[in-house]
């Protein structure tokens, strides 16, 4: 009988994916948000400084708003993965995980406060490394 069941047992798994209890986490949102922050810094840099038109000023305000919102999204997404997804065994494997998370949160705040291409690039890179760690724990 066990042989029959093993023969009948499906070899493929299909996922009735759910968000909450089964824990589907994904760092893509954080990566996208970090990318957006960098892009906004870039766009702000391209706006005219002398004699800006009303449209330019409106654009500036929009870019700043989006930059800050997305820096906040980075913080939120990273925090959720850090607190809800990572377990003790992951921290054992990556002892600098807490430190990395803390630095990303700090960096995101720095990007909210400043218009700094270097800080934006740093944030993007740090989030990418965080995402790489995330995916490596999925293997």
């Amino acid at each position: 009988m066990p042989r029959v069941t093993s023969w009948l047992k499906p070899t493929t798994t299909v996922y009735a994916h759910c968000d909450i209890p089964c824990g589907i986490y994904d760092p893509h949102a954080a990566e996208l948000a970090a990318r957006t922050v960098a892009r906004m810094v870039e766009m702000i840099g391209k706006l005219p400084i002398e004699n800006p038109s009303v449209a330019d000023r409106a654009n500036l305000v929009r870019c700043i708003t989006i930059k800050e919102q997305h820096a906040e999204i980075v913080k939120h997404e990273i925090q959720v993965i850090w607190s809800d997804y990572f377990k003790a065994e992951h921290v054992e494997r990556y002892p600098d995980l807490h430190d990395r998370t803390w630095k990303i949160l700090k960096l995101a705040s720095k990007n909210k406060q400043n218009i700094d291409a270097a800080a934006a690039a740093e944030l993007e890179a740090a989030v990418k490394e965080f995402a790489d760690i995330f995916w490596s724990t999925k293997k």
Partner: protein
């Protein structure tokens, strides 16, 4: 275009279907809870991989999930040409798109997250559960409300 013999499976009745069925995915195990109560984790299902268009509303389908490329299972809430109410307004589904939702809406990760699914990603229609023994039987269609 040159036709090779592989493009034309032998012409006996249902040859193409048999051909596809042999090659396609046809037995699957369910993981996770978003199709509860219709499907539960560890249900074993038979899939009909021969369907070449979106089955009727309320059918359960297996498809490649757009963001992850994992195989996912959800219910067809709306078919090509249907309109779906989303936060941004009405979404008109293209000729090859369907809107797929999990029955357990509160937890399901579905078209509300990744949008409409293209026919290219359809793998098959779930039609029969062969395990657990207590719940063997054909899988029923069920009315679903599209949108959020």
């Amino acid at each position: 275009m040159n036709e090779t013999p592989e493009d034309n499976p032998p012409a006996f009745p249902f040859a193409r279907e048999w051909h596809q069925a042999r090659r396609g995915t046809w037995r699957v195990a369910v993981a996770e809870d978003s199709m509860a109560p219709a499907l539960a984790p560890d249900d074993w299902l038979l899939i009909d991989p021969t369907c070449d268009r979106w089955p009727r509303r309320g059918s359960i389908v297996v498809f490649r999930e757009p963001d992850t490329d994992l195989l996912a299972i959800k219910r067809v809430a709306a078919r090509p040409g249907d309109r779906v109410r989303i936060a941004a307004g009405l979404l008109h589904l293209a000729a090859d798109e369907a809107w797929l939702l999990g029955d357990n809406a509160a937890v399901s990760l579905d078209s509300r997250r990744y949008g409409p699914v293209s026919l290219d990603d359809l793998v098959g229609r779930a039609w029969f559960r062969y395990s657990p023994a207590s719940r063997i039987g054909t899988i029923r269609r069920r009315a679903v409300k599209p949108g959020r």
